[in-house]
Symmetry: C2
Subunit: 199 residues, 2 copies
DNA sequence: CGCCCTGTCTACCATTTGGTAGGGAATGGA
DNA sequence: TCCATTCCCTACCAAATGGTAGACAGGGCG
């Protein structure tokens, strides 16, 4: 079994994800990134001509990873509430495996255009599909009627918040551990369940 | 009636709120702030010895404004669900009047310590009170049982998200207008209602 | 060997950043 | 009138930032 070392390009993306997903984009310089990696800044600029290019590439890779996880969950067995639960669970699983990824989503949405536009653009099909699904469930009378878009925004906000709002969590006396993440997931699911399901 | 011009110090705080609440803290330099105000950067540094000092002062002022609005709502008439609704409405009212204020809250919580600690610290009593209230409602059987802290985090995330997630909103085909804000408020309330209330 | 291509580095650079030093106009009180 | 205080300014500065230019090492290949 060959000892495979992650190639430089991937390592740079990993470091950028870790740094930007937590400290933030503007707050982390290319020099700092290079320092983390133990390479020269120029090596970063060799693979990615500019900081923004690196961000673009990172968004592309991360979005794909996120989309794939949700897609798999959406495709999988189950319908109605089971499907919602599967998707939420897949996001939390991703958050457990790669905590910075959801942080990056939050960060990019904050950065605004053009970065945010790129991200939302790539997730558009998925969003569309989710909205259609919710609407059909409402039509079938399985879920309470809501504006599908606003409902999606609410779900998105809650899930992202429960995962990434570290400081607020701390202010509430809850340490953001792996164990706590599981509790938060359970709580989100319970909340969504009572909010969405009829009867 | 005397023509009262806002004193420089307040104008600086206003400009900082507008800029940092939307573009972000690191993304907005003191020079940019001074440019917006049509004054020299040194005038800013005269009133606030450093950028961080300005942030502190802004957090103090904004937190107070937010706390006061919520406090009034909490003190006001009503109990049970009416109280929750009153608080949420007060936050949305604030968001309508000063859109950047909630943006700043989001931004500060992202910045992490020490700024975030300062903000959460000042809101601590309010949070405590809200948690106690929720718990007593649960004890009385008026609301579904949840971990009060996690429930608060969920409510916080949803409300902040519905107000400040401009880019996600756009991705969902919803333009962030005043009219839309009212719809979002109605939706949040409806969601919370079905999520929280028993029976 | 000699050549080229890939990948990393050192050496710079222009601009921007937060911040210092200090000048000068206005005001008001002695 | 003189002085002190308040407030805003121009003139700088050291450090950090994103980015350019180009040298150099190594390997594959004719």
């Amino acid at each position: 079994m060959p000892e495979v070392v992650a190639p430089t390009r991937e390592r740079i993306l990993d470091a950028a994800l870790a740094a930007w997903g937590t400290r933030g984009y503007e707050a982390t310089s290319l020099d700092a990134l290079a320092g983390d990696l133990g390479i020269a800044k120029q090596s970063i600029l060799y693979w990615f001509p500019s900081k923004e290019t690196l961000l673009d590439a990172l968004i592309a890779r991360s979005t794909q990873e996120l989309a794939q996880a949700m897609q798999t969950a959406l495709d999988g067995a189950g319908d109605g509430w089971a499907k919602v639960e599967a998707v939420v669970r897949s996001v939390f699983r991703l958050a457990a495996r790669r905590p910075e990824l959801l942080g990056l989503v939050r960060e990019v949405s904050r950065l605004g255009p053009p970065a945010a536009t790129r991200m939302t653009g790539e997730l558009q099909p998925l969003v569309r599909r989710a909205a259609d699904f919710l609407e059909s469930e409402m039509d079938a009378g399985h879920m309470r009627r809501h504006d599908p878009s606003l409902l999606l925004l609410a779900i998105y906000s809650t899930v992202i918040g429960m995962i990434t709002e570290v400081e607020v969590l701390r202010a509430l006396g809850e340490e953001p551990t792996a164990r706590s993440l599981a509790r938060r997931r359970a709580d989100v699911l319970e909340l969504l369940r009572s909010a969405l399901l009829t009867g």
